[in-house]
Amino acid sequence: MSWPARAALAFALLAAALAGLAVSLGAASASDSQTTTTTTEPPPTEPSIPPQPPVPAPIAFGVTVGGVQVGGMLPSEATEAVRAVYTRPLPLVVSPTRTIRLAPGELGARANVPKAIGRARVARPGRIVPLDVAVSTSRIRKYVDALARKLDRKAVDAKVLLRGVRPRAVEAREGRLVKRLAGARAIRYALKRNARAPIELRYELLKPKVESVEYRGAVVIMRSSNRLLFYNRKGLVRSFGIATGQSSYPTPLGDYEIVNMQRNPWWYPPPSDWAADSDPVPPGPGNPLGTRWMGLSAPYVGIHGTPDAASIGYSASHGCIRMRIADAEWLFRRVEIGMPVFIVAR
């Protein structure tokens, strides 16, 4: 038997003797009188001196439980001290400006404090008593997974986007992916060790595929309004009335770019039933493409001049975007291959 335990026993016996309980305690159980801290009713048979509960022995000097100094504390005080330290939230740093405070209980961790205190009561001075913390690895993983879904960001490629009908250049942005396994492991390890030092969540950085675009302008085609808007870096420069595809040959909606520019183009019949019986038309006054052709990345669709100015303002073409001859020439001077062309429904 170790020294503190022996001392405790001697202390308890002395206390019992002083209270004069030798007779009355014969019926009552010894454990009852040892743990109770409230004064019990004096037994009616012995009205002399009320019984005094034994004072529990303090834990030996220098003992720690789960890293908490409990030396010299009574077991009840030690339990409270260990609980207080254990229930402190675990700070998880997700970004330089944001820290989440995790409650160990919510992550499914459970500390066996009574067991650790039991060991501390009989520990020699200076002993390090570990605190057993049961953790649920799957619950921590699940938590980190859910958190990561909120924190993960896709990489954004630099590109030209529409806001309403207005194009604007969007800069590239790095994406990030939470290192889930490492995060879950760090949390689990901290809980196991009863450590509450901030844990930094780590990320894998995702590089955008397109780092930058040079925005020099864009063409926006409003299909149902039959308008073509030309933008440069500063903003809207000009707006034109155009003809777009009739309902049976609608101009396709979407994001395209100019892939082909020709002055005084030949017209070749596209592989479509309306052009089945047509022959190629050389450049000249009757050419259906007028004097300029700006082909889009949409197949067989382009912006071109038209000798049929009366169709401007209507959905009359076979899918192409018709402009007045002079307007098409103006636009041709300002667009370039690779310039974005947005076709929107409005």
């Binding site: 309403g164 009908v165 207005r166 808007l229 809207l236 000009r238 409005r346």
Partner: protein, 262 residues
């Protein structure tokens, strides 16, 4: 050229400085509020800052441009400089882009405050293909003549009466103004032919107190539409509607629904 005549027996609805009762006047926010309220045209003021930059503002008074936040003047300042105080102040280009991008079915009513702005207004309207959707009005007949020379497709209207002394809206002048308008009311029909001819205008843009049936008859006989400003009282609205005006400028476009059920 934009049609200003009544449609299906109803006058056209014009939002004053956007919709001055619904949002800060002469801002894109006010334009949006007007378009949402279903106006046929949006009225706004075009001012030359002095250095050639055109903005949508009623006067050089910074108190007015900043919607009461500051005092001073914007004359001679740059657009970027004024924007520090009034971040919502639209340039003319931005205002016109709004009508192309966001409100393709709505007409423009440009109130030309600076005659020096006319050439740039003409070229801007042409570039954005807004000529056929625009009415330009002014108190300055020379500005309207110049605009018609540069861009004959824009419809023009002469505004009357000009408040040259700036008494309107000033404290304690309400009775004076009312008295003057009453005196003007009788003579206005006789002035209409000369005012229209001098400006070469095809619209007569008149204060609602002077929009009498006689004035409307005279203008219509000359082939001019009558636009009246700025109606705030439902009784005035009913009166000018009865007088037969073609278009009504209002601060709050919802007044049409509550008063005329249009």
């Amino acid at each position: 050229m934009i049609s200003l005549e009544r449609r299906d027996g109803h006058p056209l609805r014009i939002g004053h400085r956007g919709a001055a009762a619904l949002a800060p006047e002469n801002t894109l926010r006010a334009f949006r509020a007007a378009v949402e309220a279903g106006v046929d045209l949006v009225e706004f003021d075009v001012l030359d800052l002095g250095g050639g930059e055109l903005v949508v503002a009623h006067s050089y008074d910074l108190r007015e441009v900043s919607h009461g936040a500051l005092t001073g003047t914007i004359l001679g300042r740059t657009l970027d400089g004024v924007r520090v105080d009034c971040p919502e102040l639209p340039s003319l280009d931005e205002a016109l882009a709004f009508f192309v991008e966001e409100a393709p079915g709505v007409g423009l009513h440009l109130d030309v405050k600076s005659a020096s702005a006319v050439p740039r207004i003409a070229s801007a309207l042409r570039a954005l293909d807004l000529v056929e959707r625009s009415l330009a009005t002014s108190f300055e007949h020379r500005a309207l003549r110049r605009l018609a020379e540069l861009e004959p497709g824009v419809r023009t209207g002469i505004s009357f009466p000009a408040d040259r002394a700036g008494v309107h809206g000033r404290h304690g002048t309400a009775r004076l103004v009312r008295g003057a308008l009453r005196a003007f009311r009788a003579v206005t029909p006789r002035l209409v032919p000369r005012l229209l001819a001098r400006a070469g205008a095809t619209a007569f843009v008149v204060h609602h107190a002077l929009a009498t049936p006689a004035t409307v008859r005279t203008a219509h006989a000359l082939g001019a539409a009558v636009v009246t400003w700025t109606v705030r009282d439902p009784r005035d609205l009913a009166r000018v509607d009865d007088a037969g005006v073609d278009a009504i400028v209002v601060d709050d476009p919802t007044i049409f629904v509550s008063t005329l059920q249009t």
